[in-house]
Protein backbone atom coordinates (compact mmCIF):
# COMPACT_ATOMS: atom_id res chain seq x y z
CA UNK A 1 0.00 0.00 0.00
CA UNK A 2 2.74 2.47 0.83
CA UNK A 3 5.91 2.46 -1.19
CA UNK A 4 9.09 3.99 0.21
CA UNK A 5 9.72 7.62 -0.68
CA UNK A 6 13.07 9.14 -1.65
CA UNK A 7 14.21 12.03 0.48
CA UNK A 8 17.41 14.00 0.64
CA UNK A 9 18.38 15.44 4.01
CA UNK A 10 21.46 17.35 5.11
CA UNK A 11 22.00 16.43 8.74
CA UNK A 12 24.72 18.25 10.66
CA UNK A 13 26.35 19.17 7.36
CA UNK A 14 26.29 15.64 5.88
CA UNK A 15 23.98 14.84 2.97
CA UNK A 16 21.96 11.64 3.21
CA UNK A 17 19.87 10.11 0.41
CA UNK A 18 17.23 7.96 2.06
CA UNK A 19 14.36 5.72 1.05
CA UNK A 20 11.84 5.93 3.87
CA UNK A 21 8.31 4.81 4.59
CA UNK A 22 6.11 7.88 4.24
CA UNK A 23 4.95 7.63 7.84
CA UNK A 24 8.51 7.77 9.27
CA UNK A 25 8.72 10.64 11.75
CA UNK A 26 11.83 12.77 11.50
CA UNK A 27 12.69 11.76 15.08
CA UNK A 28 12.69 8.08 14.06
CA UNK A 29 14.53 8.75 10.81
CA UNK A 30 17.32 10.42 12.80
CA UNK A 31 17.48 7.75 15.47
CA UNK A 32 16.76 4.55 13.55
CA UNK A 33 17.89 5.24 10.02
CA UNK A 34 20.80 7.59 10.68
CA UNK A 35 21.71 6.24 14.14
CA UNK A 36 21.85 9.72 15.57
CA UNK A 37 20.45 8.82 18.96
CA UNK A 38 21.19 12.17 20.58
CA UNK A 39 17.69 13.29 19.64
CA UNK A 40 15.42 11.95 22.36
CA UNK A 41 11.78 10.99 22.02
CA UNK A 42 9.63 11.76 25.03
CA UNK A 43 5.92 12.24 24.54
CA UNK A 44 5.90 11.77 20.75
CA UNK A 45 3.00 14.16 20.29
CA UNK A 46 4.62 17.55 20.45
CA UNK A 47 4.27 18.45 24.10
CA UNK A 48 7.60 17.76 25.82
CA UNK A 49 10.17 19.29 23.45
CA UNK A 50 12.81 16.56 23.98
CA UNK A 51 12.98 15.79 20.25
CA UNK A 52 13.53 19.41 19.16
CA UNK A 53 15.95 19.79 16.24
CA UNK A 54 16.75 22.71 13.97
CA UNK A 55 15.23 22.63 10.49
CA UNK A 56 16.90 25.24 8.29
CA UNK A 57 18.02 26.91 11.50
CA UNK A 58 14.65 27.02 13.25
CA UNK A 59 13.73 24.79 16.17
CA UNK A 60 10.94 22.32 15.44
CA UNK A 61 9.58 19.16 17.04
CA UNK A 62 11.02 16.26 15.06
CA UNK A 63 8.16 14.01 16.26
CA UNK A 64 5.68 16.30 14.49
CA UNK A 65 7.38 16.13 11.11
CA UNK A 66 7.33 13.47 8.44
CA UNK A 67 10.90 13.01 7.24
CA UNK A 68 9.74 12.69 3.61
CA UNK A 69 8.21 16.16 3.79
CA UNK A 70 11.62 17.72 4.48
CA UNK A 71 13.27 16.93 1.16
CA UNK A 72 16.22 19.30 0.76
CA UNK A 73 16.12 20.61 4.33
CA UNK A 74 19.17 21.21 6.51
CA UNK A 75 18.80 19.67 9.93
CA UNK A 76 20.90 20.24 13.02
CA UNK A 77 20.61 17.81 15.91
CA UNK A 78 22.28 17.99 19.31
CA UNK A 79 25.24 16.16 17.74
CA UNK A 80 25.65 19.22 15.52
CA UNK A 81 25.75 21.63 18.47
CA UNK A 82 29.24 20.64 19.58
CA UNK A 83 32.35 22.79 19.16
CA UNK A 84 34.27 22.45 15.88
CA UNK A 85 37.03 20.54 17.70
CA UNK A 86 34.55 17.94 18.93
CA UNK A 87 34.40 19.35 22.45
CA UNK A 88 31.34 20.83 24.08
CA UNK A 89 29.61 23.67 22.29
CA UNK A 90 28.82 26.86 24.22
CA UNK A 91 25.33 25.80 25.26
CA UNK A 92 26.56 22.38 26.35
CA UNK A 93 29.42 24.00 28.26
CA UNK A 94 26.95 26.32 29.99
CA UNK A 95 24.74 23.36 30.99
CA UNK A 96 27.82 21.68 32.45
CA UNK A 97 28.91 24.75 34.40
CA UNK A 98 25.43 25.58 35.71
CA UNK A 99 24.46 22.02 36.59
CA UNK A 100 21.49 22.39 34.26
CA UNK A 101 20.90 18.68 33.81
CA UNK A 102 20.44 15.65 35.96
CA UNK A 103 19.19 12.61 34.05
CA UNK A 104 19.84 14.34 30.74
CA UNK A 105 16.82 13.00 28.90
CA UNK A 106 15.35 16.40 28.04
CA UNK A 107 18.75 18.04 27.48
CA UNK A 108 19.13 17.56 23.70
CA UNK A 109 15.87 19.44 23.16
CA UNK A 110 17.01 22.27 25.41
CA UNK A 111 20.42 22.50 23.71
CA UNK A 112 18.94 22.82 20.22
CA UNK A 113 16.18 25.20 21.33
CA UNK A 114 18.61 27.48 23.19
CA UNK A 115 21.20 27.39 20.40
CA UNK A 116 18.63 28.73 17.93
CA UNK A 117 17.19 31.19 20.42
CA UNK A 118 20.58 32.78 21.19
CA UNK A 119 21.24 33.17 17.46
CA UNK A 120 18.22 35.51 17.31
CA UNK A 121 18.51 37.00 20.82
CA UNK A 122 22.14 37.09 21.89
CA UNK A 123 21.55 38.83 25.21
CA UNK A 124 18.27 37.71 26.81
CA UNK A 125 17.03 38.78 30.21
CA UNK A 126 16.21 36.10 32.73
CA UNK A 127 12.50 36.44 31.95
CA UNK A 128 13.17 36.13 28.24
CA UNK A 129 15.30 33.07 28.88
CA UNK A 130 12.44 31.52 30.81
CA UNK A 131 10.03 32.24 27.95
CA UNK A 132 12.51 30.79 25.46
CA UNK A 133 12.55 27.41 27.19
CA UNK A 134 8.86 27.34 28.05
CA UNK A 135 8.13 24.72 25.41
CA UNK A 136 10.57 22.21 26.85
CA UNK A 137 9.77 20.04 29.84
CA UNK A 138 12.33 18.92 32.40
CA UNK A 139 11.15 16.51 35.09
CA UNK A 140 14.17 16.50 37.41
CA UNK A 141 16.41 19.56 37.35
CA UNK A 142 13.73 22.16 37.60
CA UNK A 143 14.23 25.20 35.48
CA UNK A 144 16.29 27.58 37.65
CA UNK A 145 19.64 26.18 36.58
CA UNK A 146 18.54 25.86 32.99
CA UNK A 147 17.63 29.56 32.93
CA UNK A 148 21.07 30.27 34.37
CA UNK A 149 22.59 28.14 31.62
CA UNK A 150 20.84 30.24 28.97
CA UNK A 151 22.45 33.34 30.46
CA UNK A 152 25.82 31.64 30.76
CA UNK A 153 25.66 30.36 27.18
CA UNK A 154 24.94 33.89 26.02
CA UNK A 155 28.10 35.01 27.84
CA UNK A 156 30.18 32.21 26.33
CA UNK A 157 28.93 32.89 22.81
CA UNK A 158 29.47 36.64 23.24
CA UNK A 159 32.91 35.86 24.71
CA UNK A 160 32.11 37.86 27.82
CA UNK A 161 33.43 37.21 31.30
CA UNK A 162 31.09 35.37 33.64
CA UNK A 163 28.81 37.55 35.71
CA UNK A 164 25.76 35.40 36.27
CA UNK A 165 25.62 31.77 35.48
CA UNK A 166 26.12 29.09 38.11
Amino acid sequence: MTTPVSVSLVVNGVRHELELPARRLLSDALRHDLRLTGTHVGCEHGVCGACTVLVDGRPMRSCLLFAVSLDGAEITTVEGCQAPDGGMGPVQQAFHECHALQCGFCTPGFITTITAYLDDNPDPTRDEAREAISGNLCRCTGYVNIVSAVERAAELIGDRPGTGGA
Binding site: R23, E44, G46, T52, V55, P59, L65, F66, G135
Partner: protein, 303 residues
Protein backbone atom coordinates in the same frame (compact mmCIF):
# COMPACT_ATOMS: atom_id res chain seq x y z
CA UNK B 1 2.32 6.51 19.03
CA UNK B 2 3.37 6.01 15.42
CA UNK B 3 1.19 7.36 12.61
CA UNK B 4 -0.69 4.76 10.54
CA UNK B 5 0.55 4.08 6.99
CA UNK B 6 -0.57 6.31 4.15
CA UNK B 7 0.34 7.02 0.55
CA UNK B 8 2.40 10.16 0.19
CA UNK B 9 2.17 12.67 -2.65
CA UNK B 10 4.47 15.62 -3.24
CA UNK B 11 2.83 17.77 -5.93
CA UNK B 12 4.55 20.83 -7.37
CA UNK B 13 1.50 22.89 -8.36
CA UNK B 14 -1.84 23.67 -6.72
CA UNK B 15 -3.67 22.13 -9.69
CA UNK B 16 -1.73 18.90 -9.30
CA UNK B 17 -2.54 18.87 -5.58
CA UNK B 18 -6.24 19.35 -6.30
CA UNK B 19 -6.20 16.56 -8.90
CA UNK B 20 -4.54 14.19 -6.43
CA UNK B 21 -7.09 15.04 -3.73
CA UNK B 22 -9.97 14.53 -6.17
CA UNK B 23 -8.52 11.27 -7.54
CA UNK B 24 -8.42 9.79 -4.02
CA UNK B 25 -11.59 11.42 -2.73
CA UNK B 26 -13.01 8.13 -1.48
CA UNK B 27 -9.84 7.15 0.39
CA UNK B 28 -9.77 9.94 2.93
CA UNK B 29 -7.22 12.32 1.43
CA UNK B 30 -5.75 15.08 3.58
CA UNK B 31 -3.60 18.09 2.82
CA UNK B 32 -0.33 18.18 4.76
CA UNK B 33 0.80 21.74 5.46
CA UNK B 34 2.56 22.40 8.79
CA UNK B 35 1.19 19.18 10.25
CA UNK B 36 1.38 20.44 13.82
CA UNK B 37 -2.20 19.34 14.49
CA UNK B 38 -2.50 16.57 11.90
CA UNK B 39 0.64 14.61 12.80
CA UNK B 40 -0.19 14.24 16.53
CA UNK B 41 -3.77 13.30 15.60
CA UNK B 42 -2.36 10.59 13.35
CA UNK B 43 0.13 9.46 15.97
CA UNK B 44 -2.69 9.14 18.48
CA UNK B 45 -4.64 7.27 15.80
CA UNK B 46 -7.45 9.78 15.92
CA UNK B 47 -6.96 10.35 12.20
CA UNK B 48 -5.91 7.83 9.54
CA UNK B 49 -5.99 9.47 6.12
CA UNK B 50 -5.27 7.05 3.28
CA UNK B 51 -3.45 9.71 1.27
CA UNK B 52 -1.47 12.76 2.29
CA UNK B 53 -0.94 15.48 -0.27
CA UNK B 54 2.08 17.47 0.89
CA UNK B 55 1.77 21.12 -0.17
CA UNK B 56 5.04 22.19 1.48
CA UNK B 57 6.85 22.15 -1.85
CA UNK B 58 4.35 24.26 -3.77
CA UNK B 59 5.88 27.59 -4.83
CA UNK B 60 4.30 30.95 -4.09
CA UNK B 61 2.11 30.00 -1.15
CA UNK B 62 4.29 31.37 1.63
CA UNK B 63 3.64 35.08 1.17
CA UNK B 64 2.27 37.49 3.75
CA UNK B 65 0.92 40.44 1.77
CA UNK B 66 -0.49 43.70 3.09
CA UNK B 67 -3.20 44.99 0.79
CA UNK B 68 -5.68 47.86 1.03
CA UNK B 69 -8.15 45.25 2.34
CA UNK B 70 -5.98 43.84 5.06
CA UNK B 71 -3.45 41.05 5.35
CA UNK B 72 -3.47 38.10 2.98
CA UNK B 73 -1.68 35.10 4.46
CA UNK B 74 -0.60 32.30 2.12
CA UNK B 75 -1.16 28.65 2.94
CA UNK B 76 2.51 28.03 3.66
CA UNK B 77 3.13 31.13 5.81
CA UNK B 78 4.15 29.73 9.18
CA UNK B 79 2.63 31.23 12.30
CA UNK B 80 6.07 32.56 13.29
CA UNK B 81 6.48 34.29 9.93
CA UNK B 82 3.12 36.07 10.25
CA UNK B 83 3.90 36.95 13.87
CA UNK B 84 7.24 38.55 12.97
CA UNK B 85 5.96 40.44 9.91
CA UNK B 86 6.10 44.14 10.84
CA UNK B 87 3.96 45.31 7.91
CA UNK B 88 1.26 42.80 8.85
CA UNK B 89 1.44 44.00 12.45
CA UNK B 90 1.06 47.63 11.42
CA UNK B 91 -2.02 46.81 9.34
CA UNK B 92 -3.66 44.30 11.70
CA UNK B 93 -1.99 44.30 15.15
CA UNK B 94 -4.40 41.61 16.34
CA UNK B 95 -2.51 39.05 14.24
CA UNK B 96 0.66 39.28 16.31
CA UNK B 97 -1.31 39.77 19.52
CA UNK B 98 -3.10 36.46 18.94
CA UNK B 99 -0.20 34.51 17.44
CA UNK B 100 1.87 35.00 20.58
CA UNK B 101 -0.64 32.69 22.26
CA UNK B 102 -0.55 29.95 19.63
CA UNK B 103 1.23 26.95 21.22
CA UNK B 104 5.01 27.41 21.62
CA UNK B 105 7.48 29.17 19.32
CA UNK B 106 8.76 25.76 18.20
CA UNK B 107 5.29 24.79 16.99
CA UNK B 108 4.77 28.21 15.41
CA UNK B 109 7.94 27.71 13.36
CA UNK B 110 6.21 24.93 11.42
CA UNK B 111 2.46 25.32 11.89
CA UNK B 112 0.62 27.46 9.36
CA UNK B 113 -2.07 30.03 10.11
CA UNK B 114 -4.24 28.88 7.20
CA UNK B 115 -3.88 25.24 8.25
CA UNK B 116 -5.06 26.12 11.72
CA UNK B 117 -8.17 27.77 10.24
CA UNK B 118 -8.95 24.74 8.09
CA UNK B 119 -8.44 22.41 11.05
CA UNK B 120 -11.15 24.36 12.86
CA UNK B 121 -10.26 23.52 16.44
CA UNK B 122 -12.69 25.41 18.73
CA UNK B 123 -9.65 26.40 20.84
CA UNK B 124 -7.62 27.78 17.91
CA UNK B 125 -6.79 31.45 18.34
CA UNK B 126 -6.71 32.30 14.64
CA UNK B 127 -10.30 31.19 14.10
CA UNK B 128 -11.52 33.96 16.40
CA UNK B 129 -9.23 36.48 14.72
CA UNK B 130 -10.56 35.61 11.25
CA UNK B 131 -14.16 35.68 12.46
CA UNK B 132 -13.78 38.95 14.33
CA UNK B 133 -12.10 40.66 11.37
CA UNK B 134 -14.72 39.39 8.89
CA UNK B 135 -12.00 37.59 7.00
CA UNK B 136 -12.29 34.97 4.32
CA UNK B 137 -10.55 31.82 3.16
CA UNK B 138 -9.64 31.14 -0.48
CA UNK B 139 -10.25 27.54 -1.53
CA UNK B 140 -9.17 25.92 -4.79
CA UNK B 141 -10.97 22.75 -5.86
CA UNK B 142 -11.69 20.74 -9.01
CA UNK B 143 -14.38 23.24 -10.03
CA UNK B 144 -12.21 26.31 -9.58
CA UNK B 145 -11.66 28.64 -6.70
CA UNK B 146 -14.06 30.19 -4.21
CA UNK B 147 -13.88 32.55 -1.26
CA UNK B 148 -15.72 31.70 1.90
CA UNK B 149 -16.34 34.29 4.60
CA UNK B 150 -15.53 33.41 8.19
CA UNK B 151 -19.21 33.41 9.09
CA UNK B 152 -19.88 30.40 6.86
CA UNK B 153 -16.42 28.84 7.03
CA UNK B 154 -16.56 27.50 10.59
CA UNK B 155 -19.22 24.81 10.68
CA UNK B 156 -18.55 23.03 13.97
CA UNK B 157 -15.78 21.52 16.08
CA UNK B 158 -12.98 20.40 13.69
CA UNK B 159 -15.38 21.00 10.81
CA UNK B 160 -15.15 23.75 8.21
CA UNK B 161 -16.49 24.54 4.76
CA UNK B 162 -13.20 23.25 3.34
CA UNK B 163 -13.94 20.08 1.32
CA UNK B 164 -11.59 17.10 1.15
CA UNK B 165 -10.66 17.77 -2.48
CA UNK B 166 -9.89 21.45 -1.93
CA UNK B 167 -6.66 23.25 -1.07
CA UNK B 168 -6.97 26.37 1.08
CA UNK B 169 -4.46 28.64 -0.61
CA UNK B 170 -4.80 31.79 1.52
CA UNK B 171 -6.78 33.65 4.14
CA UNK B 172 -7.41 37.38 4.29
CA UNK B 173 -7.73 39.17 7.60
CA UNK B 174 -9.48 42.48 7.10
CA UNK B 175 -7.99 45.72 8.35
CA UNK B 176 -10.11 47.17 11.17
CA UNK B 177 -11.50 50.72 10.79
CA UNK B 178 -9.46 53.75 11.81
CA UNK B 179 -9.30 54.45 15.51
CA UNK B 180 -9.51 50.78 16.44
CA UNK B 181 -7.46 49.14 19.17
CA UNK B 182 -7.22 45.40 19.66
CA UNK B 183 -6.14 42.85 22.23
CA UNK B 184 -5.99 39.10 22.67
CA UNK B 185 -6.10 37.41 26.08
CA UNK B 186 -6.45 33.78 27.04
CA UNK B 187 -6.02 31.46 29.97
CA UNK B 188 -4.56 27.96 29.66
CA UNK B 189 -3.65 25.35 32.28
CA UNK B 190 -0.06 25.32 31.06
CA UNK B 191 1.92 27.92 29.12
CA UNK B 192 1.38 27.27 25.43
CA UNK B 193 -1.41 24.76 25.93
CA UNK B 194 -4.96 24.97 24.59
CA UNK B 195 -6.88 27.86 26.11
CA UNK B 196 -9.79 27.16 28.45
CA UNK B 197 -11.10 30.45 27.11
CA UNK B 198 -9.63 33.13 24.89
CA UNK B 199 -10.91 36.54 23.83
CA UNK B 200 -9.97 38.76 20.91
CA UNK B 201 -11.30 42.30 21.25
CA UNK B 202 -11.71 45.27 18.91
CA UNK B 203 -12.66 48.68 20.26
CA UNK B 204 -13.12 51.69 17.97
CA UNK B 205 -13.09 55.27 19.22
CA UNK B 206 -13.98 58.44 17.31
CA UNK B 207 -11.95 61.63 17.20
CA UNK B 208 -13.47 62.68 20.55
CA UNK B 209 -12.22 59.37 21.95
CA UNK B 210 -15.76 58.10 22.53
CA UNK B 211 -16.31 54.41 21.85
CA UNK B 212 -18.26 53.85 18.64
CA UNK B 213 -17.92 50.07 18.34
CA UNK B 214 -16.83 47.13 20.46
CA UNK B 215 -16.76 43.50 19.36
CA UNK B 216 -15.16 40.38 20.73
CA UNK B 217 -14.37 36.95 19.33
CA UNK B 218 -14.13 34.06 21.77
CA UNK B 219 -12.57 30.59 21.57
CA UNK B 220 -13.19 27.41 23.58
CA UNK B 221 -16.71 28.45 24.59
CA UNK B 222 -18.63 27.13 21.58
CA UNK B 223 -18.43 24.77 18.61
CA UNK B 224 -16.36 27.37 16.76
CA UNK B 225 -15.32 30.97 17.20
CA UNK B 226 -18.10 33.06 18.75
CA UNK B 227 -18.31 36.72 17.72
CA UNK B 228 -20.29 39.04 19.97
CA UNK B 229 -21.16 42.59 18.95
CA UNK B 230 -21.18 44.65 22.12
CA UNK B 231 -22.85 47.63 20.45
CA UNK B 232 -25.95 47.24 22.65
CA UNK B 233 -23.70 47.49 25.73
CA UNK B 234 -22.29 50.89 24.79
CA UNK B 235 -23.57 53.61 27.06
CA UNK B 236 -25.34 56.62 25.57
CA UNK B 237 -22.38 58.93 25.93
CA UNK B 238 -20.21 56.46 24.05
CA UNK B 239 -17.65 56.63 26.81
CA UNK B 240 -17.84 53.15 28.19
CA UNK B 241 -19.01 49.58 27.73
CA UNK B 242 -21.57 48.54 30.35
CA UNK B 243 -20.14 45.48 32.12
CA UNK B 244 -23.49 43.99 33.19
CA UNK B 245 -24.98 44.26 29.71
CA UNK B 246 -21.74 42.86 28.25
CA UNK B 247 -22.06 39.75 30.43
CA UNK B 248 -25.66 39.30 29.32
CA UNK B 249 -24.69 39.55 25.66
CA UNK B 250 -21.87 37.06 26.19
CA UNK B 251 -24.13 34.61 28.00
CA UNK B 252 -26.63 34.70 25.15
CA UNK B 253 -23.92 33.90 22.60
CA UNK B 254 -21.59 31.37 24.19
CA UNK B 255 -22.25 27.73 24.98
CA UNK B 256 -19.28 26.35 26.92
CA UNK B 257 -19.00 22.66 27.82
CA UNK B 258 -17.55 20.77 30.76
CA UNK B 259 -14.39 18.81 30.16
CA UNK B 260 -11.40 17.64 32.18
CA UNK B 261 -9.71 21.03 31.85
CA UNK B 262 -12.53 23.25 33.08
CA UNK B 263 -16.21 23.25 33.91
CA UNK B 264 -18.67 25.10 31.73
CA UNK B 265 -19.34 27.51 34.60
CA UNK B 266 -15.64 28.30 34.93
CA UNK B 267 -15.28 28.88 31.19
CA UNK B 268 -18.27 31.22 31.35
CA UNK B 269 -16.63 33.10 34.19
CA UNK B 270 -13.40 33.33 32.18
CA UNK B 271 -15.33 34.66 29.20
CA UNK B 272 -16.70 37.46 31.39
CA UNK B 273 -13.41 38.36 33.03
CA UNK B 274 -11.18 38.05 29.96
CA UNK B 275 -13.63 40.05 27.87
CA UNK B 276 -13.59 42.89 30.39
CA UNK B 277 -9.79 42.91 30.45
CA UNK B 278 -9.39 42.57 26.68
CA UNK B 279 -11.84 45.43 26.09
CA UNK B 280 -9.87 47.62 28.48
CA UNK B 281 -6.60 46.87 26.69
CA UNK B 282 -8.13 47.37 23.25
CA UNK B 283 -9.71 50.63 24.39
CA UNK B 284 -6.36 51.89 25.70
CA UNK B 285 -4.73 51.00 22.41
CA UNK B 286 -7.49 52.69 20.40
CA UNK B 287 -7.08 55.88 22.42
CA UNK B 288 -3.32 55.93 22.08
CA UNK B 289 -3.64 55.36 18.33
CA UNK B 290 -5.93 58.38 18.06
CA UNK B 291 -3.83 60.54 20.36
CA UNK B 292 -0.44 59.37 19.13
CA UNK B 293 -1.41 59.53 15.46
CA UNK B 294 0.03 56.08 14.88
CA UNK B 295 -3.14 54.74 13.41
CA UNK B 296 -2.50 52.04 10.85
CA UNK B 297 -6.17 51.57 10.03
CA UNK B 298 -7.95 52.72 6.92
CA UNK B 299 -8.57 56.42 6.42
CA UNK B 300 -12.32 56.12 6.37
CA UNK B 301 -13.77 58.15 9.21
CA UNK B 302 -10.37 59.32 10.37
CA UNK B 303 -10.20 62.56 12.33
Amino acid sequence: MKPPPFTYHRPTTVDEAVQLLAAHADEGPKVLAGGQSLVPLMSMRLAAPGHLVDINHLPGLDAVEVTSDGVRVGALARHAQVERDDAAYDAVPLLRQALQHVAHPTIRNRGTSVGSLVHGDPAAEMTAVLALLDGEVELVGPDGSRRVGAGEFFVGPMETEHADEEVAVAATFRRPPAGTGSAFLELARRHGDYAMCGVAALVTVDSDLAITAARVGLISVGPGPVVVDLGPALSGSGGAVDPGRTRELLDEAIDPEDDIHATAAYRRRLAHVLTERALRQAHDEARSRRVGGTDGGSVEGAA
